[in-house]
Symmetry: C2
Subunit: 183 residues, 2 copies
């Protein structure tokens, strides 16, 4: 399974591609941070981000896209740009029929470090270890994008196993388990 | 001048096309409200909105797109979807090289009614009168989109006249006026 993780932002948009599956070592494919200048009008900045995401979808052909879920209670000064970049990331994926998953920052921190309140440095250190990288990806947006991709591979695989098990149970014991296969 | 006004939203996205110029009667070209169901995943809803906006850009070929400027202090429960829809509107226009202008709700209310605190009914009534419509456009998102287009034609025309006058002044009296032509 190949996942593109996107840490959305207007000034810095992290993108990380990871290959792998649950229970096996994961592999870094590529990581980058798209940057746009605050001197440029927002519509043009969004077009730059869209082109950058589309180019990676073309080049790396991920099976799924994982985007950080943004909350309205986040930093007000950057929330609009972040929301717009996250919407673009979702559209770029959905347009191609790719599954899109949203993971909260707490879910990502918990998945990679076991601690939903881990700080940036802890997340970066765990990403470095999980992907066996020679150095921590920088800036933090790069590490966060990889952490999103890792989270999605682990959560997605686990969910797929649960769904498959429930589906099998429903087929073999339709009377008892049919109602449980609904997510 | 033909302007597409967009009142962005995930559940209801108003779109209104108006023809005209400052000092002449304006004409309604078309108005519609794109709707997406909250039962559908957000990425798919955004793709539906993108397709709807793109279709109108294809069909009506506006000279400019006017989008409501969203503030982070708006209603928290809908701000994310609104921000994402507004980003999409900007991208759809900018991708085609069309100028995009953002107008605040207060600017729109002031432009069409002379009162920056006008309510929905007053804005709707003024849009109906300005475009000489047989009835008020409904829902409010439709009237708001038309109000945005009207605002843009009036503001854009006024700004263009000021720019042109400053430019002429700069050409005829380069020594005195050159510094003033900068916006």
């Amino acid at each position: 399974m190949r996942v593109l993780g996107i840490d959305p932002g207007l000034t810095r948009c992290g993108m990380g591609v990871v290959d792998g599956e649950l229970g096996r070592p994961l592999t870094l494919v590529d990581v980058n941070v798209l940057r746009t200048s605050s001197q440029v009008p927002v519509p043009e900045r969004l077009v730059t981000i869209e082109k950058g995401i589309d180019a990676w979808l073309d080049d790396y052909r991920p099976d799924a896209v994982a985007v950080e879920r943004i909350f309205a209670r986040s930093d007000v000064s950057t929330i609009m740009g972040t929301a717009q970049a996250s919407g673009l990331a979702m559209v770029c994926a959905a347009r191609r029929g790719l599954p899109v998953a949203l993971h909260t920052p707490s879910e990502v921190k918990a998945a990679v470090s076991g601690n939903g309140r881990a700080d940036k440095a802890q997340v970066g250190a765990m990403v470095t270890r999980i992907l066996r990288l020679p150095a921590m990806p920088k800036p933090a947006d790069a590490a966060d994008a990889l952490a999103l991709a890792i989270t999605h591979i682990w959560r997605g695989s686990a969910q797929a196993r649960i769904d498959a098990a429930l589906s099998r149970a429903a087929q073999t014991r339709p009377g008892r388990a049919a109602g449980k296969a609904v997510r």
